[in-house]
Amino acid sequence: MTTTIGLEIHVQLATQTKMFCGCSTAFGDEPNTHVCPVCLGLPGALPTLNAQAVRLAVRIATALGCTVHEVSEFSRKNYFYPDLPKSYQITQFDHPIATGGSLPIVTEQGARSVRLTRAHIEEDAGKSMHAADITLGGETLVDFNRCGMPLVEIVTEPDMQSSDEAYEFLRNLRRLVRWLGVSSGDMEKGVMRCDVNVSVSPDPAKLGTKVEIKNLNSFRSVKRAVDYEEQRQAQCIADGTPIMMESRHFDEVQGTTTAMRSKEASNDYRYFPEPDLPLLQLDPTELESVRAQIPELPWEMQSRFERDLGLSPYDAALLTEERSTAEFFQQTIALYDNPKKLASYMETEVAKLLNERDKTLTETQLTPATLAGLLTMVESNVISNTASKDVLPLLVDTGTTPTEAVRSLGLEQVSDTSAIEGFAREVIAENVTQVEQFKSGKEAVLGFLVGQLMKKSKGKANPKFAGEILRILLK
């Protein structure tokens, strides 16, 4: 059995205002409060295109290697639905803003480049909430705050063969849109939504019947829906029951897909060019400047980190999940040349503090210079690794310098051998039993003795020196 998967992803663009009107794109406000004549489809209202939405769409399309078209056209897609106020959606049809392009993915099955068919810009519909379907007289509640939100729809070729690949595609696309500042990529808020086309065929040379699963709103749902659908279609083939070309709905609770009720009228959207919007013409010099401003892409940076800095694939992926983290890492590396140690420190100690504070790196006072300074102090035995954990919160919360923080906490490490020797002699004198045990070959007891020494020094003794000095004195 061969499974073929294609995705259609709607990504909400990170603008202040909607696609065709000046209403706010803020999420989570009272229903029907971000509305105006345009997004409510009042008589006489006309759309005007948001320049920033176009810029963001061009940015993502350029980063995906699409051909961005200098001239594109808006069309009306006609259908009736209570959350679609004009009875048509303004979208792009015959002449989208971008075609082609690809996105790389890596899974256990290996690396693959997923080709894209097109990317086009359009407006979102409002949000319908269906009252629990208990009675026949159930109701639907409609909120138009989301109506007119700017979207870019990215359509892939049927290039994926497993739910893992679909999952990876979405993960990498999400990383990219966040990386470029094009979208928050937040699936929980519906900022990224996905339709999946799945077809299973017994003959790898022939495509099976395309089944569309609509409106998936988490990566996990995509994976589960594809897994279920793969198994369902395989079962159909085994049983000899025909697979219908249809749209299906994924039930989050059951983990199953069900056919959507067949429509009253067939899907005849009667697309035609939107007369209220002349053609969208992009200035070639502006397109060039967008291209020039595209930063190093996350997967490019990831493989550079592996190749040039010797990071593990795991570390490289983790550090390039967010652009701000990756750039912080890069800037820190320029001041503290131990990529592996920095990576591990960022993934453990720094990550822990950010987690506790529920903040991103850029929201704290930590800078590449202070973090590099701190790690250099550990490296050169000015403070212990343990002590650094007490210093880090100060750097994160107050923005003070590591030197200042170490001094204020009184944490300078004692590397003066005569001082350590003094502590060592006291420890030997006070722990006769343990000293005997060590001398009779119990190496592990040294750790206890070092601990005692550290206690005496109030944690300031360089533990490496402490161990060596104890060893010499106990010979």
């Binding site: 004549p37 008589p43 006489g44 005007t48 295109l49 009875s87 048509y88 009667r270 035609f272 209220d276």
Partner: protein
């Protein structure tokens, strides 16, 4: 107050500025005319005379329109006023915002006495398609005023307003202007904002002034023509003073006569008016040129594909969910159908159905796409003809105003738009000006068309001909 009321906006403005007349006095006179005449003419769907009087009191005499009453077609939004579009589906709808043009007119000192009748959603040529009542032609109450802006043109002709605004999708300002004996101007597409005009055929719709003289139309255009950031099809141009651009003669102008329209069946008096006007043009310094537009007669079928297609989408928003008429059904599909069936009249339904048909799978290429190509062809031909002529002179209508109820066949009604539609397809400016009367004393209108953005020139040429034929300068 002087014994004689001003007949034009220009005279009114002069009188108000000379303190011979106040805006309130004039409004009171207008009110009397409306109260006496409108029960027969039925130009207005809703009147707001008390509000208009306080607006007139507050009007600045030095403002461009100085408190002059300007009527507004009831498919153009005015905040706080009903906007029915002549349809049951919007019978009780109150506009929450004003069209850009209405804002401009009010800011320039216009006073709106009321909203005028129209064919439902501007679809028709007689104002008989209004869901509420037909309007009558002030020149002969047994006849239609034309349409779809019949209420606006009748109001201006009957003295209920010094000017009015209408919308012109296929001739809806010019044709009723011709029938009522007033001036109706359709500007270049993109010169006047459409924001707040309830859309019928978005790529064709234009708001235009209706006036008693060409000069008045120019005065109104000075207020109405402006780039509007709310309308993406509105074009930013340097401002033009349309009144100051009016020239005394046609010296050096080439007036084109379209060969392919010569054979058409027009009422003899209209043909005679064309002849008289041609001579007047030559006398005013113009030369006549013969131009050919091989596909101009395809304009009518093109229009009756494009306009219904656009209207089928534009009128989808009237679904009973957010505003307007609502008829409950068992489910949403039934709710939609019941609402729309109860709300729309026959002509509107007919056009929505044609529109949905020509856009539907399997028919799109043969109808909509083909019509779009022929539209481009006609536009190209018109652009080329307007290289060898500065303006094109045609009748506005094949006949003068017909009797109410006389034309019942929709296709016959459509065919009366043959002269006016090409300007909408090509987006060029066109004006209808009065050019005499027929044997029954009914007004005759002739049309001038010109290149895109030659609006000032069209108005100037029309002004010369209009005054040469005895119109108010």
């Amino acid at each position: 107050m002087s014994s004689e009321l001003p007949r034009t906006l220009e005279q009114y403005r002069h009188a108000v500025r000379a303190h011979e007349l106040s805006a309130e006095e004039y409004l009171d006179e207008t009110r009397q005319l409306i109260e006496r005449g409108d029960p027969q003419v039925k130009a207005f769907l809703h009147l707001r005379l008390d509000a208009a009087r306080s607006d007139a009191q507050a009007a600045d005499p030095s403002s461009p329109l100085a408190g002059a009453p300007i009527a507004v077609k009831d498919n153009i939004m005015m905040a706080g006023e009903r906007c029915t579009c002549g349809s049951r589906i919007l019978e009780h709808y109150v506009a929450p915002y004003s069209a850009t043009v209405v804002q401009s007119l009010l800011a320039a000192g216009a006073v709106v006495p009321g909203k005028t009748n129209l064919d439902e959603f501007a679809m028709g040529s007689s104002t008989e398609n209004s869901a509420f009542f037909p309007t009558h032609n002030p020149a002969d109450l047994s006849r239609v005023p034309g349409g779809s802006s019949g209420g606006s043109t009748a109001a201006v002709a009957a003295g209920f307003a010094l000017g009015a605004i209408g919308s012109d999708t296929g001739g809806s300002v010019r044709q009723p202007a011709a029938f009522c004996g007033v001036v109706g101007f359709k500007p270049t597409y993109g010169l006047v904002s459409r924001y707040g005009l309830v859309a019928f055929g978005s790529s064709l719709d234009c708001i235009g002034p209706i006036a008693r003289s060409v000069r008045d139309a120019a005065l109104m255009m000075n207020v109405m023509a402006a780039h509007d950031p709310k309308d993406a099809t509105s074009v930013r141009r340097s401002p033009v003073d349309f009144e100051a651009a009016l020239q005394p003669t046609l010296a050096g102008k080439r007036v084109g006569i379209i060969r392919e329209l010569q054979g058409l069946d027009v009422q003899p008096e209209i043909a005679a008016a064309m002849e008289t006007t041609r001579k007047a043009a030559v006398k005013s310094g113009a030369s006549l040129v013969d131009v050919s537009l091989p596909h101009i007669l395809s304009a009518l079928p093109v229009y009756y594909i494009i306009a219904p297609a656009e209207c089928s989408a534009n009128l989808g928003r009237f679904d009973g969910v957010r505003y307007g008429l609502h008829e409950d059904g068992r489910d949403m599909t039934e709710t939609y159908s019941k609402t729309r069936n109860a709300g729309f009249g026959t002509e509107v339904k007919r056009r929505i159905l044609i529109g949905a048909f020509v856009l539907s799978a399997g028919y799109y290429d043969a109808y909509y796409k083909k019509a779009s190509s022929v539209r481009q062809l006609i536009t190209d031909e018109l652009d080329a003809a307007l290289q060898s002529a500065d303006v094109l002179l045609t009748p506005t209508t094949p006949t003068t105003a017909f009797r109410l109820g006389a034309v019942t066949d929709p296709l016959e009604m459509y065919k009366a738009d043959v002269f006016t539609i090409p300007a909408n397809l090509a987006g060029v400016p066109a004006i209808s000006f009065p050019a005499g009367k027929d044997a029954a004393g009914l007004p005759i209108g002739l049309q001038l068309m010109g290149p895109r953005w030659s609006d000032a020139d069209i108005l100037s040429c029309a002004n010369v001909l209009f005054t040469a034929l005895g119109g108010e300068s």
